[in-house]
């Protein structure tokens, strides 16, 4: 056993590695196209396509290094890495360069490094380490510690670095907690329903907010949207009564049903008010997404992004306009087309064939990761694997959903596609650690 595992590629899952390399190659091609112009030169390190090629080379080298290191290194140093990355994320707030209002980047030479990206795998390592070491997964202490591990980087990234998009990704770890039985299915469902209720409450408000600009722009008055509220409550009551008809009616059940109804009704009423309490750019994004009226300046920014993104993708037809032939991306109609909106280039130049291929490659990757996780003897590897799958899953949903107008504009990258060294390298580390852990799955790691 020992001798064989010395060989780097022993038991490496080639399906995963192939998809990884394929996605990275396709990603680079699309970045090249997105920034393509007459001056394109892949050896000019001032240009993004050259930088990204360099990042890809670094990533592949890093992948080798990870495959060389013994898997036990990651289990042993999980907490240390976590601590170090947390410190790095705090340090960047004070030592980093300000870019677009957030202190989340280190500038080194011509390159920038975003430590928040690295927090994803570091947190996941710590989470896997912790969850694989406990005996009582359903204890309150376990839940609190788990929450602590996840929330600490979130708070730092969102609160101190103002990188809301990156921080939101940590919500992906709920999927891991669900798999491990720490978060029960009903709670997850409850959360999803609450989010839905919240969104519907904004879209069809039970509370109508009015600002009388002539008096005082800051002063708002609230009105009761009776019609909307009655519809919501009636629907809930109908479900509640249905539930009570189907189950054994104990006092406890009846009370529970009405508490739940009350909760959702309250959520409907509170949603519009809560939305107004958010920072104005967050409110604007959500309102744009839901097609609610917004001030001109806000719709110019967020509606414009979504509209241009959908125009670029929507003009792709079956097979796209051909490589380097996109007009919407080439002529810079789509903002941030090489980073968050790189999927537009895929859509415009490769059409439905290209977009489905990319989405399906991700589907295969995520499914493969879940299947691989389930074959582990080691809890650590399983938990880590689910975490990797969850991170990719959420990135895919949020990023692609944003470009096709299904979700609000949230600035997170499409793994291996979006331009950026920090994210490419970070995703490589995230994925390759799992590939390495999996290759030693016959050993039990703690």
């Amino acid at each position: 056993m020992r001798e064989k595992s010395d060989r780097i590629f022993y038991h490496v899952d080639w399906i995963t590695v192939s998809i990884y390399l394929l996605l990275m190659a396709m990603g680079w091609m699309n970045i090249y196209s997105a920034v393509y112009d007459a001056k394109s030169d892949i050896f000019d390190l001032q240009r993004q396509e050259s930088k990204q090629l360099l990042f890809a080379v670094i990533s592949v080298m890093l992948a080798f290094v990870i495959l060389v290191i013994d898997a036990s290194f990651f289990t042993a140093t999980a907490y240390i890495l976590y601590g170090a990355i947390i410190l790095l994320n705090i340090a960047v707030v004070f030592l980093g360069t300000e870019i677009r209002g957030s202190h989340s980047w280190f500038k080194i030479g011509g390159f920038s490094l975003q430590p928040a990206e690295f927090a994803k795998w570091a947190t996941l390592l710590a989470l896997a380490k912790f969850l694989s070491s406990i005996n009582r997964p359903d204890s309150r202490k376990t839940l609190l510690t788990t929450m602590g591990i996840i929330l600490l980087p979130m708070v730092i990234i969102m609160g101190l670095q103002s990188e809301t998009g990156v921080a939101l990704i940590f919500i992906a770890f709920i999927i891991v907690l669900y798999r491990e039985g720490i978060v029960p299915g009903w709670l997850l469902l409850f959360g999803l329903l609450s989010a839905t209720a919240f969104i519907l409450g904004i879209k069809y408000p039970g509370t109508i907010i009015e600002t009388d600009k002539s008096v005082d722009p800051a002063k708002v008055s609230y009105h009761f949207g009776l019609k909307s509220f009655l519809i919501w409550t009636s629907i809930l009551l109908a479900f509640g009564l249905l539930r009570l008809l189907l189950i054994r009616r104990t006092a406890k059940q009846i009370i529970l049903t009405f508490v739940v109804i009350g909760f959702f009704s309250g959520l409907f009423l509170a949603a519009p008010v809560a939305l107004e309490k958010l920072p104005v750019h967050q409110t604007g994004r959500i309102k744009c997404w839901l097609g609610l009226p917004v001030p001109r300046a806000i719709s110019d920014r967020y509606d414009y992004n979504t509209k241009q993104s959908m125009i670029a993708i929507g003009s792709g037809d079956w097979l796209g306009k051909g490589y380097l032939q996109g007009t919407q991306t080439k002529f810079r109609f789509v903002p941030e087309q090489e980073t968050d909106f790189i999927f537009c280039t895929v859509g415009e130049e490769w059409g439905l064939a290209g977009t489905s291929l990319v989405v399906i490659l991700y589907l295969i990757l995520i499914m493969r990761l879940i299947i691989m996780s389930e074959r582990q003897r080691s809890d650590f590897t399983r938990i880590y694997g689910y975490g990797v799958a969850s991170v990719f899953f959420v990135h895919l949903i949020v990023n692609v959903g944003m470009t096709i107008g299904l979700l609000p504009v949230i600035g997170i990258p499409l793994p291996f596609f979006s331009y950026g060294g920090s994210s490419l390298i970070s995703f490589t580390i995230l994925l390759l650690i799992f590939v390495k852990l999996d290759s030693q799955r016959l050993l039990i790691l703690r």
Binding site: I175, Y178, R179, G181, P184, G185, M310, I311, A312, I313, G314, S315, G316, D317, W318, T327, Q328, K330, F331, R332, F333, G347, E348, G351, L352, T355, S356, V359, I360, Y362, L363, I366, M367, I370, E374, Y386, A389, F393, L396, I397, V400, G401, I404, G405, L406
Partner: protein
């Protein structure tokens, strides 16, 4: 819960999301064309090259219409940022409110204008001076550019109705014909409409690509799909500009129409409508203003092409037709005599007639225009024994003869909007009098025999009848264009349309009568020295006032060169105004000079418009 199930829930969830996303992608990429259109509109700029419209010459090579350069001020509302609005308002002499109003009208609203990347005409057909002032400061007027276009110029200011006019296409046309885009011009009437397809040429297009800042990034596929503009074809009209001009002069202060056709070819030599207007009025920026002025003149109706569209009773000129039909049907011969008692005896003296010798044979009856005679002839056609007393069959036979002369049907001329006229069908009388409720005398009584009653024909159709007589049995479809580009053999105008009156002898008999009309009959005023003129007067009763003065004629008798039909509204006897004007027209055409200056002067100066109190304010010819 069993962890295994959670695994499948998560796998299922992933699959579900991916299926949902691919469906959405399928919808926006393949199904919904909205995005493709938007992408296209954003990134592509179609620069249209407008070809010059074809010019039109008369039959002698005189220029009837040519093109002048004019400039359209175009606006792309989205690009109006930092535009010197005050400057442009100053040059165009409009207020800021007017500026915004125009913009809102073009884009739908001021709000939508902000994102409107289409080009609109902001100010159309500016003259070179105005254009020069704009060009000087164009660099300050972001969002504006100038596009050279052409406007029509009519050097002779004649034949307004024949030329027609061009105007901006409306929405109906742009939705039906993809060639036309909003802001394009199209022929709306006359030759401009009838020959639109040839005159317009073919627009050229240059497809440019532009970026988000509206900078041009070069030609699409290196100009592979660009096309060059093809100029419109020039047309040679059959019109004799000099004759047309003369006809318009003669019709000064009169209402009516003249048609003059070369019988051998069907070529329209002149088609005069009075009152008329200067065709240059309906050109360029002042079009809307002038157009509404012309429309407001509801008495003179200067936009109404009377020669082509007005329904007139032909009056006595129609007796020629009935004579021909009677001869062909064998119910009339040159030696048939009918009595006249200053009226039609079987009709109890109706229709009435004027004093003249009686009885008369055919030639004399044509020369004196005897109403009684032709009422007899008409009755004999309807009550033809060949139809065994079936007056409906007789009526239908008569009607078919009439239709074969191009009356009551569209004669097929190349001018748009030509009217059919009315030759009532037997069914019409069935409806009025009931089936079997009418007899030959019924229709004779209302005056079909003498060109009255329900008969309505246009001056052009009257002239066409005379062409058929002059040609002794056939006509060629009257037309206004003889050459399109270099193609002068228009097949449609080679074909002879034979009438149902087939024997040349019958025509000679009628022509003999027509010659007598001029030599010793009702229209001696129409005589021209040295040319044998054949004619027929008409004095058409009508419900609008005094009789219409009508005259039809051709000359010379042998190998005719010109046929003229003229109707002057409410001008009395055919011999009073119609015959002299027609005669002068023929003299002008055949000899190129006028030997009867007094007659000419009397005709030109004759003012029939201002005799009626309600017409006192009527402008005879619009400025």
């Amino acid at each position: 819960m069993n962890p295994g199930i959670r695994q499948y829930i998560l796998l299922g969830l992933t699959l579900l999301v991916v299926v949902l996303y691919i469906s959405r992608l399928f919808y926006i990429q393949v199904v919904d064309d909205k995005y493709k259109l938007d992408a296209h509109n954003q990134a592509f700029l179609y620069q249209t090259d407008y070809p010059p419209r074809g010019v039109i010459y008369d039959r002698n090579g005189k220029l009837l219409v040519f093109n002048q350069v004019a400039y359209d001020l175009m606006v792309v509302p989205r690009d109006l940022k930092d535009c010197d609005t005050a400057g442009i308002c100053g040059i165009l002499n409009i207020s800021k409110e007017e500026f915004l109003k125009r913009l809102a009208k073009l884009s739908g609203s001021v709000e939508t204008a902000r994102g409107d990347y289409r080009s609109h005409i902001f100010e159309s057909q500016m003259l070179p001076e105005l254009n020069a002032r704009i060009q000087e400061r164009l660099y300050k007027f972001n969002g504006f550019y100038v596009q050279a276009r052409t406007v029509r110029k009519y050097p002779m200011t004649i034949a307004a109705h024949l030329m027609g006019y061009i105007g901006e296409v409306d929405e109906r046309i742009t939705s039906e014909d993809p060639y036309y885009k909003s802001g394009d011009y199209i022929g709306k009437s006359g030759i401009e409409k009838g020959y639109e397809d040839y005159l317009r040429g073919k627009k050229g297009v240059q497809i440019k690509m532009r970026d988000v800042h509206n900078n041009i990034k070069g030609s699409f596929k290196d100009g592979k799909y660009d096309t060059a503009a093809v100029p419109g074809l020039s047309l040679i009209s059959t019109l004799d500009a000099e004759l047309q001009q003369y006809g318009e002069l003669l019709m000064t202060n009169k209402i009516g129409g003249i048609a003059a056709i070369e019988p051998a070819t069907g070529e329209i030599l002149a088609l005069v409508t009075s009152p008329t207007y200067d065709p240059n009025l309906l050109v360029g920026r002042d079009f809307p203003k002038n157009y509404s002025l012309l429309v407001q003149d509801t008495l003179g109706k200067p936009l109404f092409n009377r020669a082509l569209q007005a329904f007139y009773p032909p009056g006595s000129t129609f007796k020629l037709m009935n004579a021909l039909i009677g001869l062909q049907e064998g119910v009339l011969s040159t030696s048939t005599y009918y009595p006249c008692a200053q009226g039609y005896p079987p009709g109890g003296g109706k229709p009435k007639c004027h004093p003249h010798p009686s009885p008369l044979a055919l030639t004399g009856a044509i020369a004196t225009s005897c109403n009684s005679y032709f009422s007899y002839v008409y009755r004999s056609i309807i009550d033809n024994r060949n139809y065994k007393g079936d007056h409906v069959a007789g009526y239908n036979a008569w009607r078919n003869y009439v239709l074969s002369f191009g009356v009551g049907t569209r004669v097929g001329t190349d001018l748009p909007f030509d009217a059919k006229g009315i030759v009532p069908s037997a069914a019409y009388y069935d409806k009025i009098f009931g089936k079997n409720g009418w007899r030959s005398n019924t229709v004779t009584g209302v005056g079909l025999g003498i060109g009255q009653g329900e008969l309505s024909i246009t001056p052009l159709q009257m002239c066409n009848i005379i062409c058929a007589i002059a040609n002794r049995g056939y006509y060629i479809v009257p037309h206004i264009i003889r050459t399109i580009g270099s193609d002068s053999s228009l097949a449609k105008y080679q074909q002879k349309h034979y009438t149902k009156v087939t024997s040349p002898h019958h025509y000679e008999s009628v022509i003999e009568g027509m010659a007598n009309v001029v030599t010793g009959g009702t229209a001696r005023v129409a005589r021209i020295e040295g040319i044998e003129v054949c004619g027929k007067t008409g004095t058409a009763q009508n419900p609008h006032g005094e009789d219409h003065s009508v005259f039809v004629c051709f000359a010379p008798r042998v190998n005719p060169k010109i046929c003229v039909a003229i109707l002057v509204e409410n001008a009395g006897y055919g011999s009073a105004w119609a015959a002299p004007i027609a005669s002068l027209m023929m003299e002008k055409y055949l000899t190129r000079k006028i030997n009867r200056p007094e007659l000419e002067q009397r005709m030109v100066e004759g003012d029939l418009l201002h005799r009626h109190p309600q017409m006192q304010n009527l402008q005879p010819k619009h400025p």
